[in-house]
């Protein structure tokens, strides 16, 4: 945003800042600095004031120092040369007698995100770690993590790490937690901070001193610790018992997760834990904060998946209140579906019935589908309610009811008759594609039980030209052919018309092809059509449409209290689809759950090592040679195995990281399985400057086994092969190190 009159304003500000009278009056001086900040916030370019601003930070006023540091932080990346001026002032402040100034200076210094700052940071940080004021130590500890982030590729400083580990014994609770946080960042590549027995026990003893943020984070760090004995395990659980009932929902969640994970081999303990957190979870579900309430509801749903009936007696807590936002109402309806049992089914259905006529279309339809879900167990009552709703003749209600019927008939064939009796006269009220499809499917599949089925379908055939949705036309074709089989006399004529239309006039290729398909199928005789269309359908008990098997707690315990659970499994898969696989899921809790960029997985440093390799020895791999998959396959099959070896591997595979790493050393990836597939395979090819091809297959049977590597060579060159293998080993070693 261009700032009008910027030049003048800037000149005026500079004059004010440089004016010795202003400088002498602290309030005026600060006001001038504040004006600069306001200009900056409005988007004006105030970079020209850098020297004056840096000078202003030398003043004794703390608020002014803060303002200037805000300015410097914003401007430093653009003017690294000038920022050095600020660095000197800040470094001087790091030795200021007031701890507030020291802490502030240290924090500002570490907050400058500009290259080359590291060398100025080390000394102030080291003295900060030993400062007598905990305020400074807190800033210094996190400063260490910031420093490492700035350095990016360089070696982790062992002395610094040791210093931080020893600060875990600091008397200030926030310093302790900050140490954990900093170490976690610094030791990311090695799998984060190590929680051994003394550290774990120390943290357990300090829990009571921590604030709610510290408590929930420490509980998460403790996930990494494996107690040595059963006795120790139960001691820990006893010690932490109180946190299951903490007044902070995030502590309750973190404690629950820790309990579930620690007791992964004791299902009865897990169940007991879930009983104990019932109260806190329920109160979170009625929390004043909608977001916390939403999060709690998501977790309740997950628990219900493993312990159906766990919240059944509290079903009334999940009744919707008028003013609640949509996302909470939807979650509550899902919860109601899951906790329904013989005792409460009447009341739950009564309540859901009320929502079916809500003004919000989404909510009403959601409630109808919820009743449809419950109908799988309590068929008769639900079909009754749904049929009643049809009487309202509301478009969105009828559509949703018919869709619910379709899914229900499939799973509970015993209700077919009741559904068929309800169907007549629905067609007038349905306008949307989904509803039409459902109705047509029902009429086609169970048309023999609906007297007016052919006439309803005839209406659809009459209007097929103006039909908007291809999916409806497809459904209509299938339905009519089916109905023709059971009621040929009434359907023959219109089936002919429909087929004619679909083949001759329809513009949508899929519909046309479907029309042609049925036409040709019909030509082969009615018996053949019957055999194809009416052979046994898939058995619903196979769980094709529903998954009602109870899921053991351990299948989701590691996702408890993460975003993944709040999103839900399907959405989370979508959200993370194009992100690199997260190592944490398949692994033990030693790796924490955090997504990492593929780029950052391979540090600059290891890239260099990788790059260096191809030039050594007598092997040079060419970068711009690309084999197609067919060429590869042909060559692969024609060659003899040159070499076979297995490499140690731990954890899951991250295909993106491997591919990037291989690309760096000029090995082309021909094909590669997705993350998590077992067995995992990859095919690679490379060519050296003499034209010799190296084809490679990687095979990992199951996680935590050995990676099988088979290499074929187009010319027998043992020396080059050895060099190639060592390159490959280095790359895979580097990537494997990241995975675990």
């Amino acid at each position: 945003m261009p700032y009008l009159g910027g030049e003048d304003a800037l000149r005026e500000l500079r004059r004010a800042l440089a004016n010795p009278h202003v400088q002498a009056d602290r309030l005026r001086y600060r006001a001038a600095v504040l004006r600069v900040i306001r200009h900056m916030a409005q988007g004006a370019d105030v970079s020209g004031l850098f020297p004056e601003m840096v000078k202003a930070s030398a003043a004794a006023d703390v608020v002014q120092k803060k303002l200037v540091s805000l300015y410097v932080r914003a401007q430093a990346p653009r003017q690294p040369q000038l920022a050095l001026l600020a660095v000197n002032t800040l470094r001087k402040d790091c030795a200021h007698p007031s701890p507030a100034v020291r802490g502030l200076a240290l924090r500002s210094l570490c907050g400058l995100r500009m290259p080359g700052i590291q060398e100025y940071l080390r000394q102030p940080l080291l003295s900060g770690l030993r400062d007598k004021a905990s305020y400074v130590r807190r800033a210094a500890v996190l400063g260490c993590a910031k420093l490492l982030k700035l350095q990016g590729d360089s070696e982790v400083d062992g002395a610094l790490v040791n210093e931080l580990y020893s600060l875990l014994r600091d008397q200030d609770p926030i310093v302790v937690v900050n140490c954990l946080r900093a170490l976690e960042e610094i030791l990311k590549k090695e799998g984060g901070v190590v929680i051994n027995k003394p550290i774990a026990h120390h943290l357990l003893n300090r829990m009571a001193d921590l604030d709610q943020w510290g408590q929930s984070e420490v509980l998460t760090f403790l996930l990494r610790y494996r107690p040595r004995s059963e006795e120790e395990l139960f001691d820990i659980l006893n010690l932490l018992d109180g946190y299951l009932k903490s007044s902070s929902p995030s502590v309750v969640m973190a404690a629950t997760k820790l309990f579930l994970m620690l007791a992964r081999e004791y299902p009865h303990v897990q169940t007991d834990v879930l009983v104990r957190v019932k109260g806190p979870l329920l109160s979170a579900c009625t929390s004043e904060s909608r977001e916390l309430c939403f999060t709690a509801l998501c977790h309740v749903r997950q628990i219900l998946g493993s312990l159906p009936g766990h919240f059944s007696s509290h079903y009334k807590k999940f009744f919707c209140s008028y003013s609640e936002p949509h996302y909470i109402k939807c979650q509550k309806m899902e919860v109601l579906c899951e906790l329904v049992n013989d005792e409460n089914v009447q009341q739950v259905l009564e309540e859901l019935k009320g929502y079916c006529t809500d003004v919000s279309v989404e909510l009403a339809q959601g409630a109808i589908f919820a009743i449809g879900n419950i109908a799988r167990t309590y068929t008769e009552q639900c079909v009754g309610i749904l049929t009643e709703l049809l009487g309202l003749q509301q478009e969105h209600i009828t559509s949703a009811v018919v869709q619910a019927f379709r899914d229900l008939v499939w799973l509970c064939p015993q209700c077919t008759d009741a559904v068929c009796r309800a169907l007549p006269s629905c067609e007038d009220a349905i306008q949307d594609s989904e509803g039409k499809q459902a109705l047509i499917w029902l009429l086609g599949t169970h048309g023999e039980k609906v007297p007016n089925a052919p006439y309803v379908l005839e209406d659809f055939v009459e209007n097929v030209k103006s039909e908007m949705f291809p999916a409806v036309k497809m459904e209509l074709l299938t339905a009519l052919v089916r109905l023709f089989l059971s009621r040929p006399a009434e359907c023959q004529d219109m089936l002919g018309r429909l087929l004619y239309y679909c083949i001759e006039e329809e513009m949508d290729m899929a519909v046309r092809d479907r029309g042609l398909f049925y036409y040709r199928l019909l030509q082969s005789g009615v018996e053949e059509v019957k055999r194809v269309l009416c052979s046994p359908k898939s058995d619903p008990s196979l769980g094709l449409l529903e998954d009602q098997t109870e899921r053991p707690v351990n299948t989701w315990a590691s996702e408890f209290n993460t975003l993944a659970l709040v999103y839900g499994r399907e959405r989370w898969a979508l959200v993370t689809a194009y992100q690199p696989a997260e190592p944490s899921y398949a692994c033990s809790p030693c790796t924490d759950s955090r997504s990492r960029d593929t780029e950052s997985l391979i540090s600059e440093e290891s890239k260099e090592i990788l790059k260096a390799h191809p030039d050594t020895g007598n092997l040079t791999l060419i970068s711009d040679v690309y084999l197609t998959a067919e060429e590869f396959e042909k060559t692969w099959l024609s060659l003899e195995m040159s070499c076979h070896l297995s490499l140690p591997w731990c954890g899951t595979v991250q295909p993106d990281a491997i591919q990037t790493a291989l690309h760096v050393v000029h090995i082309q990836t021909i094909a590669m399985s997705k993350a998590g597939v077992q067995p995992w395979k990859a095919y690679l090819s490379a060519q050296d400057d003499t034209g010799c091809l190296f084809l490679t297959e990687l095979l990992l049977e199951a996680a935590d086994s050995e990676m099988q590597v088979s290499v074929k060579q187009s010319e027998a060159k043992p020396e080059a092969l050895q060099t190639f293998l060592s390159v490959l080993r280095t790359v895979m070693g580097a990537v494997a190190g990241l995975g675990s």
Partner: protein
């Protein structure tokens, strides 16, 4: 972990203030937020958690502001939401109200606070009492040559500073029970619960040790006083200062309190209680002509108690006009902007029954969109009374200087989420 960056946006999605704590999520990412929010709202799939690419947005809305935390990690949602609410709480204590105006007016303090609340994406000092010791609004006006040291930082007790002094040492104890009620349209009670909190206002010098005695049933059974009147508390939660181990052992509530206001504990009663104020309503709508409303309110609590400030909010159609009211007690007024009639009764003794009639005209042309069925909601406060019968039996205050301190106790029952559905 908590957040990579924190944004405060106005209603249009324009950032008023942002802090990029970690630098791994670009500040530009926030530009996608508003679009996403509107899109999801349109689809009816709005959730407090949105995603753009690899970035997750966790957001809350407060007044005319959005507070958004961004993260790339598969983190802990309830922690982030709790933190955002904490930020709101801290700002509110500084500026009374948190809204666009107060952010703009207090630009400097907001930045200072954001700096102290979080560092590198991790919550730091979030206790507003401690923050107020070294970040003061006066700091912007007054000349503060020397900066103060946050003394609390070195204390063994992180929630209380040393060297607090009062001339008169007093503790005010408020026992507040809120009644949540949900009644279906046909008059059956769907949900009735009581949420109790004990709030303290502490004006005590030094480092006092406090012990609170309640008529807790578990305690009475432990000590063999089973016959006395006692209360069964469920889902009890305490402030951080209470020693949980002692409570677990012998149900003693002992603590060193923070200075000033704080919530000591909360509990819940799941026993079904009779709704304190019962409402019967008849809302008759004659399309194209009029709406007639009859509301009967009955105080179903002890005759000696009185409910104060009773407000009964009755929904009316949004196109209603020309209101007419008749009340047996109190006054009624029409709030067209909220489509409500509010019937106010200043004092409502137990056992009494009151009546209100309202009459509205309806336009002859009916409007298109359908309306929801908002419930009747009730607000009230009954002093000197608790539903549970909880009692503070004693409050012992011990400080090494040996001063005498007075505890004052107040009991109040009030309405929480108190709703009666209409048909």
């Amino acid at each position: 972990m908590a957040a990579s960056a924190l944004f405060i946006l106005d209603l249009k999605g324009k950032p008023l203030i942002s802090r990029n704590y970690k630098g791994d999520v670009g500040l530009g990412e926030i530009e996608h937020f508003m679009g996403l929010l509107l899109q999801r709202e349109e689809e009816g799939t709005l959730a407090p958690l949105l995603t753009h690419g690899k970035v997750h947005f966790l957001w809350i809305k407060h007044a005319n502001l959005y507070l958004v935390a961004t993260t790339k990690k598969n983190g802990n949602a309830s922690l982030v939401y709790s933190f955002l609410y904490k930020v709101v709480e801290v700002f509110c204590e500084y500026f009374k109200e948190l809204e666009e105006e107060s952010i703009r007016d207090n630009f400097v303090i907001v930045y200072e606070l954001l700096d102290e609340l979080m560092d590198f994406g991790f919550p730091q000092t979030t206790d507003s009492k401690i923050l107020q010791e070294y970040i003061t609004q006066e700091g912007n006006k007054l000349e503060t040559g020397k900066s103060r040291v946050p003394t609390t930082v070195t204390n063994a007790v992180s929630w209380r500073s040393e060297g607090i002094k009062y001339k008169k040492n007093e503790v005010f104890i408020d026992v507040i029970e809120s009644v949540n009620l949900l009644v279906s349209a046909n008059g059956s009670v769907l949900l009735s619960e009581v949420v109790g909190t004990i709030k303290l206002k502490v004006f005590l010098s030094g480092m006092p040790e406090l012990r609170l005695g309640l008529n807790d049933r578990v305690l009475f059974e432990l000590t063999g006083r089973g016959k006395n009147k006692s209360v069964e508390l469920e889902d009890v939660k305490f402030h951080q200062c209470v020693r949980l181990s002692r409570f677990d052992n012998d149900r003693t509530i002992s603590f060193i309190p923070p200075d000033g206001d704080f919530e000591l504990m909360s509990y819940r009663l799941n026993t079904q209680v009779k709704p304190l104020i019962w409402i019967e309503s008849v809302i008759e709508k004659f399309s194209h002509s009029r709406v007639e409303i009859m509301v009967k309110a009955k105080g179903q609590f002890k005759k000696q108690s009185v409910a104060n400030g009773v407000e009964i909010a009755v929904p009316v159609p949004s196109d209603a006009d020309s209101p007419k009211f008749k009340t047996s007690v109190g006054s009624a007024r029409y709030l067209p902007e909220r489509n409500l009639v509010i019937w106010t009764i200043k004092s409502f003794p137990g056992g009494k029954e009151h009546l209100m009639r309202a009459h509205f005209g309806l336009p002859s042309v009916e409007k298109e969109e359908e309306e929801g069925r908002p419930p009747i909601s009730v607000r009230f406060e009954i002093p000197y009374f608790t539903v549970s019968g909880i009692q503070v039996r004693y409050m012992k205050i011990i400080e090494k200087s040996g001063y005498q301190a007075l505890p004052w106790v107040r009991y109040i029952t009030q309405s929480g989420d108190y709703q009666l559905r209409t048909s």
